[in-house]
Symmetry: C2
């Protein structure tokens, strides 16, 4: 993990998420990390909180909190909010972690298993925003697991979730469809002043298309 | 209008929206119409309510209500809800129109003019659902007026609006991108039992692609 962190930080300035279920591995990664890392993740289980939160505090990291515990991954949005409250209370109260360094995962589960899952996620997001005003993230592709046209489902779900209060996502940034949906949602939710980013992306796509057409025309001419 | 209504009803069984600002034209269209028409539209202006709602009642139609009046197209969601309340009270109380026959337009205005417009529309939708549980519609393309990549903006906005309570839209049903976004939102909001409609649309698209590929291969073979 320490080698991986050093290698990746040598290649990019983007902030990294460090993910391991093994405490020693997390610790090694955080120790090697330059800057503020995000730890994925801690559940509301007492032993996990006690093992992971001290590391988060010591290394000045942020942490993704999952509102499930020993007993259950709760279905009910209100129960998820209770477990998020426990997570936030322990992290801030016992370990002195700032609430701005806690990112709650509202839990997105596959609609292929239960078509009511996405609604419960949206309700959880709205409640978390109302109760705590906290940052959130989820695995955007979970919801479409096992269904066809997954990117189209994600492209519908992300704007919905953002409009209820989701502030970030674990998502496939290589999918133009998903990226465009998020940019459209930013524009619609007044997070793109003057639409400048939307218009710049459109112009870049136009320029790339014109360049590709010119290259194709040149190749065709060379071929004749 | 009467000729247009008869002509179109001879071509399709879909229900029609009758739109005119001239009362006599609306009356002629409603008189010629077979079935339950939807009238577009009535504002919360006293003289428009008094002119249009009796027609709606007499012909057993439904009506789209716009929450603006003589003085303003209000910016504030709460003011829009007040005007919607006036519309609903007059339609149900004075004219005996059923609340299920009133479709409120939460007003979608171009983000190109003010990037805060879409948020106000979403807030209005949520308030209208909470206060009245009423059906709603809006012009889905208004929001993207003057911006590039309008269908991508609409494909983000419709799922958002649906997740807050929008129940229908005046939209371009010829745009595959918009139609797919609405179908994805139906799936995510648990209005597509077992995902049957989503999966059927995927299979139909696959079959059409296979057929097109086969036709192309046959044409290529014929050309050699």
């Amino acid at each position: 993990m320490a080698r991986a962190v050093r290698l990746i930080q040598g290649l990019t300035d983007l902030p990294l998420v460090i993910d391991s279920s093994i405490i020693e591995v997390l610790d090694a990664g955080l120790a090697a990390y330059q800057g503020k890392a995000l730890v994925n993740s801690v559940t509301a289980e007492d032993d996990r909180l006690a093992a992971i939160l001290p590391l988060v505090k010591r290394h000045g990291a942020a942490v993704i909190g999952l509102p499930n515990d020993e007993e259950e991954i709760p279905e009910e949005p209100r129960r998820r909010v209770e477990l998020a409250r426990k997570l936030i209370d322990v992290a801030t109260g016992t370990y002195g972690i700032g609430v701005e360094d806690i990112v709650i995962d509202p839990l997105a589960m596959p609609i292929g298993a239960d078509t009511g899952h996405a609604i419960r996620t949206l309700e959880t997001i709205a409640l978390l925003r109302e109760e705590f005003g906290v940052n959130m993230t989820f695995g955007a592709s979970n919801v479409s697991f096992g269904m066809p046209d997954r990117h189209a489902i994600g492209a519908g779900f992300l704007p919905m979730a953002m409009s209820h209060g989701l502030t970030s996502a674990i998502m496939d940034a290589r999918s133009p469809q998903i990226v465009r949906a998020v940019k459209a949602a930013d524009l619609l939710l007044d997070r793109d002043p003057w639409g400048a980013s939307w218009i710049a992306a459109h112009r870049a796509a136009q320029a790339a298309a014109a360049q590709a057409a010119a290259a194709q025309a040149a190749a065709a001419q060379a071929g004749t």
